[in-house]
Amino acid sequence: MPISTWLSIPLLLAGAFFFLGGTIGMLRFPDVYTRLHALTKADNLGLGLITGALVLEADGWAVRAKLLLIWILVLAATATLCHIVARAALERGIRPWRRP
């Protein structure tokens, strides 16, 4: 196997781990703010790691640039949406969770 494959396999596994963490947080966290945190951070890092692995394996700089652009777009979109949803939830009177 070429060296890029050896580099991309750990990235893929780490990406899968972070997606799994995001899903578990989505299911286990107590309120909408903490779920937003799991969804928008862990999943975006997982997507970044998987994109990194695909960049290593991709043939051609156009494809690599496109993969990175997709990741950056998802990052910007999800961060914006995270703030919009969290602010809307606050305006609607949902109190952030506190340790009981």
Partner: protein
């Protein structure tokens, strides 16, 4: 490598399926919408993996559209789909 990509894509689809539990459970409308966002970010990863595994570059464009649609859907939900009434229900049940 194509098999590894396919396996990882299948694993991510299982993740999305687990997120469906949150859609059913709620409790607030925002929680249900968040599961749709999970579909957005995980779906992008699945499509990018499939584009590489199946050698179908058009799927990367589909991933791009998914990324855009997820945020548009979220903003439409906040502005139109979520009523302004303060929610009396307890959000910290579990």
């Amino acid at each position: 490598m194509a098999e590894a990509y396919m396996a990882l894509a299948a694993f991510l689809v299982v993740n999305v399926g687990a997120g469906l539990w949150r859609v059913a459970r709620g409790p607030t409308p925002a929680d249900r919408m968040l599961a749709a966002q999970l579909f957005g970010s995980t779906g992008v990863a699945v499509l990018l993996l499939l584009a590489e595994a199946a050698d179908a570059p058009a799927l990367r464009d589909v991933a791009l559209v998914f990324a855009l649609l997820a945020v548009v859907a979220g903003i439409a939900f906040v502005k139109l789909g979520w009523s302004q009434d303060p929610l009396a229900e307890d959000d910290h049940a579990d």
